[in-house]
């Protein structure tokens, strides 16, 4: 009888717990009762029929947004600020750090942006502010080319020190370049090797980089010159730390840089940095960075990030974590949240449009007809609607839709009309595939010339919300049209290795850096290495495309001085005729960066109304978002985030 009673008791307990569990899930359902219907206008940029210019069309999108009265009640009470929070800057990163003990940013597969290394620890000669067009001297003061653009001389700023007190000198620069020239396995070493002949110093603060070929644009080549515009660039290392170490296996777990912060704690979920009170810039600029602590943390999936933002635990998430509907839902709960613009489109345009890299070294994808066939099978509008939830627009190429690029886009308007790269047209696809020897069988499945079903390996970054979403929609689309898709989600070093070695048929990727000439250069065959060997960089021809004609034009473009834009435009037109014909990678969508900022603890964020910098926490330029910078012309201090003065912040 005892056993029976126990069973009954157990059952009761189980049922009670189930009821409690069910009840806990009730509140969201109740929220439906207090539903408000909110109409909002979402502005989207839509390619017009007259290809000459991009037409902005307003589409009214009505969505049902449910709001809960709860946050309002809470807002009545004065919020207690957690200990130290007002001095912290918390950034959400998309995934955990694979190996927080390896902080060697020259070792393949080690992240420099999720870890915060290139924002916090290291600094660069110059920072290129794309928003204002300023080339801002930082640990260097000036640069000059020789007459035939075969050497660039850089004057290093006096008084710059490493965080351990050692001075930063020309020797560090020479050491780093020598390291890169002698160790081709280091990240971007080949980019340096293909451009730089030697580096020499006239004195401690003057260094000259001799180039292999004339290049008036060398100071913009982030892979070979330590100046950063988009994302990151090669990084000068402290000779006294790295000397005698193997640059590929050295883990650099206590990184020494010249930056305003030092590493306090490194774990898979949080990279924590503390302000270096002896930072050289405090004396040189007379400015102290606001946050005492900066955390780059993996909070979890987008819902967790959103809730952390709503609860003021976060100040900004990286790109691609929150979509527009997410942001609007959070902004409703936390009025202190801002985005690039107050109204639609909310997002800032990231310079790296998304392209589908197609492995040219795998048959049949080496044939332009096959790549075009694939392009015709992709319904980009549906991908925008379902995978990006309307946050972006389809892109005809891999160049950002910036106003400054319009002259280039206008010059190729005929070509854009002739080659409908965003068209979804299964009939055309069948025709182009047939030309590549791929035919549809009776069951509607595409088969290759030898009768095998056409099957693709689609590599996906498992940590990327964006890539996981796109992969589902794209794989569904291709499978519906009769192509077998094997989606392979990987992450960390395994993923980067697989991409660089070309072990994929398809891979969605950011096509960086987004400058006109530089993005064309991604297709240069000098970056095309045999399958199985690591390519210089992901979008730097890991898709293994070669076309000598295009190479010749790109080489010619590289020698045109910056001020001679007309010649560059003419060459761009020539190159694009080949690019469109070959379609080496399949263009997908533009990349708007929806980056919310929280103004509860920190103010002065760059926005469309006050566009003093790029609103990106994963680029090296974030150093300047935190600090601000001296105007290169007037020397006046520009920007920098400041404490909102809540909870006893400084």
């Amino acid at each position: 009888m005892k056993g029976k009673n126990l069973m009954v008791l157990g059952m009761l307990l189980l049922i009670t717990s189930l009821i409690i569990a069910a009840c806990q899930q009730q509140p969201p359902a109740e929220e439906v009762v207090v539903t408000q219907v909110v109409e909002r206008e979402v502005t989207r940029i839509v390619e017009g029929e007259t290809i000459v210019e991009t037409i902005t069309e307003e589409i009214e999108v009505t969505r049902i947004v449910e709001s809960t009265p709860e946050p309002e009640e809470e807002a009545e009470e004065p919020e207690a600020v957690p200990e130290g929070r007002a001095e912290q800057l918390n950034i959400a990163i998309p995934g955990p750090i694979a190996d927080p003990t390896n902080l060697n940013l020259y070792a393949p597969g080690v992240s420099r942006s999720d870890t915060g290394l290139h924002q916090m620890i290291y600094e660069y000669f110059f920072y290129y502010n794309l928003q204002t067009g300023e080339f801002i001297p930082w640990i260097a003061e000036a640069f000059s080319y020789n007459d035939d653009f075969t050497a660039i001389t850089v004057n290093i700023r006096d008084g710059v020190t490493w965080s351990d007190g050692e001075p930063f000198t020309a020797d560090d620069v020479i050491f780093t370049y020598d390291l890169l020239l002698n160790n081709p396995g280091m990240v971007w070493a080949e980019e340096v090797g293909s451009r730089v002949e030697s580096v020499e110093a006239a004195d401690d603060l003057t260094v000259t980089i001799n180039l292999l070929a004339p290049n008036p644009r060398f100071h913009l080549v982030r892979e070979a010159f330590p100046a950063v515009g988009i994302w990151g660039g090669i990084t000068i290392l402290p000779q006294h730390i790295w000397e005698g170490e193997d640059p590929l296996t050295f883990t650099n777990s206590e990184p020494i840089g010249t930056g305003p912060y030092v590493l306090a704690n490194a774990s898979q979920n949080v990279m924590s940095y503390e302000r270096d009170e002896d930072w050289w810039g405090i004396e040189a600029f007379g400015e102290t960075p606001g946050p005492r602590v900066v955390n780059f943390q993996h909070v979890g999936p987008s819902t967790s990030v959103a809730l952390a933002l709503a609860n003021n635990e976060l100040d900004s998430p990286n790109i691609g974590i929150l979509t527009l509907p997410d942001y609007l839902a959070v902004a409703e709960r936390n009025p202190n949240l801002i985005a690039w613009s107050d109204g639609p489109p909310y997002a800032w345009l990231d310079p790296c449009p998304r392209g589908l890299m197609v492995q040219n070294a795998h048959e049949p994808w080496g044939q332009a007809d096959a790549r075009w066939g694939l392009s015709y099978l992709i319904d980009r509008d549906q991908i925008v609607e379902l995978a990006y939830e309307g946050t972006t627009v389809p892109s005809w190429g891999i160049w950002p839709f910036y106003d400054g690029n319009e002259p280039y886009f206008n010059a190729i308007s005929d070509l854009r009309e002739q080659y409908p790269t965003t068209a979804y047209d299964p009939a055309q696809a069948e025709e182009r595939f047939a030309a590549a020897g791929i035919t549809k069988n009776a069951e509607g499945a595409y088969t290759t010339a030898d009768g095998q079903p056409l099957s693709v390996t689609y590599l996906v970054n498992a940590d990327s919300t964006e890539e996981m979403r796109v992969s589902t929609v794209l794989a569904d689309q291709l499978e519906a049209e009769g192509i077998q898709v094997e989606v392979q989600p990987l992450s960390g070093g395994v993923l980067s290795d697989a991409i660089l070695r070309g072990e994929y048929d398809l891979k969605l990727h950011s096509m960086c850096p987004g400058y006109i000439v530089d993005n064309l250069e991604l297709y240069h065959s000098k970056f095309n290495v045999p399958l199985g060997e690591p390519a210089p960089w992901f979008e730097r021809n890991s898709f293994r495309y070669s076309n000598p004609e295009l190479d010749a034009i790109i080489d010619q473009m590289a020698t045109v001085p910056l001020e001679n834009e007309e010649e560059t435009i003419a060459l761009y037109e020539e190159a694009m005729a080949i690019w469109f014909e070959d379609l080496p990678t399949v263009n997908m969508v533009q990349a708007p960066a929806l980056v919310p900022f929280n103004t509860t603890y920190w103010q002065g964020w760059p926005t469309a109304d006050n566009a003093w910098n790029m609103p990106v926490s994963w680029w090296a330029t974030f150093n300047l978002v935190i600090n601000g910078y001296p105007d290169p012309e007037s020397g006046e201090w520009v920007g920098g985030i400041e404490s909102a003065g809540v909870g006893g912040g400084q």
Binding site: K4, G10, A22, T303, E385, D476, Q488
Partner: protein, 299 residues
């Protein structure tokens, strides 16, 4: 839980022939019947869905995204434009399949190891016991995450196999303990004296005593496997191109369904999981009561 010895069964069957057999007792157990009924509903719903839904309706974009449940939308649609109901029709059979494969594999392996280890003893036992202890002491979820992340892009069956490989240690230890006790009983001694081989004794004398217990363990392993699949899938390690209850929760998390108040998207698989656990738990209790007469409330 004391097992009923062979002599007892023989006695009771002889004196009361009208008493129902093992199956009969099970069917008279209300908990068991309710559990089986709920499970059957799920199987029928799942199988029905498999039959009636065309593959074209499974793809993303088949429906208007973010539709609330209603007469037209039934259980609503997700942000990817997929019907929640159609996803369920794929997810339930797949999740049940994971449970079935993993529980079968785990229980079978466990029984074999347990019988061999318990019956043959000595060095075989020492080796197997250490192996069992290792597998028991290392948290299997850790291994599952490791293996699943190594073989990303696995399908439902592969996932079930991975889970099943880690589900044998517990039944093995239990079976071993039972066998250790049973093999000292008189009827086993007699069987041994009458010249039966070790395998014969295991299958003909010991197995019948263990079957009900293995059944209960099977159900338990089933629950654990479905739970493990959900856990792994929610972490993003599930079968990406197939739908399971765990993957449904993963996608709803990926699209912040909770934040955007698309409650029908995440609540449906969560409630289904709860109902499924309840059904399997009732079956498990039913089994337990039948094999352990002291717990019996009826029949």
């Amino acid at each position: 839980m004391a097992a009923i010895s062979a002599s007892e069964i023989v006695e009771s069957e002889a004196s009361a022939p009208q008493q129902p057999g093992f199956g009969g007792i099970l069917l008279r157990n209300r908990k068991f019947v309710i559990g089986v009924a709920i499970l059957l509903i799920f199987i029928i719903l799942g199988a029905g869905g498999e039959l009636f839904v065309g593959s074209g309706q499974r793809a993303s974009g088949s429906f208007q995204p973010r539709l609330a449940p209603g007469p037209g939308g039934l259980l609503g649609t997700d942000s990817l434009g997929r019907s929640v109901a159609i996803q369920m029709s794929e997810a339930i059979p797949n999740s049940l399949q994971v449970g079935l494969i993993a529980a079968t594999l785990g229980t079978t392996l466990g029984a074999i190891v347990g019988f061999v280890s318990g019956y043959f003893g000595r060095s075989v036992d020492s080796v197997l016991r250490v192996l069992i202890d290792i597998f028991l002491s290392v948290p299997s979820l850790l291994f599952l995450i490791l293996i699943a992340s190594l073989f990303k892009g696995v399908g439902v069956q592969a996932m079930a196999l991975i889970i099943g490989i880690f589900a044998w240690a517990w039944p093995a230890r239990q079976v071993r303990a039972q066998v250790l006790s049973l093999k000292e009983r008189g009827f086993v001694q007699i069987a041994r004296l009458s010249g039966m081989s070790g395998l014969e004794i295991i299958f003909r004398e010991l197995m019948p005593h263990m079957l009900p217990w293995l059944g209960a363990n099977f159900v338990n392993a089933f629950i654990a496997a479905v739970l493990a699949e959900s856990g792994l899938s929610i972490l993003g390690l599930g079968p990406q191109r197939e739908m399971t209850l765990g993957m449904m929760i993963y996608w709803s998390l990926n699209y912040s369904a909770f934040l955007q108040n698309l409650w029908w998207w995440w609540l449906t698989p969560v409630l289904t999981l709860i109902a499924l656990f309840l059904a399997l738990y009732l079956i498990h209790i039913g089994f337990d009561e039948v094999t352990n007469p002291r717990l019996r409330t009826e029949g």
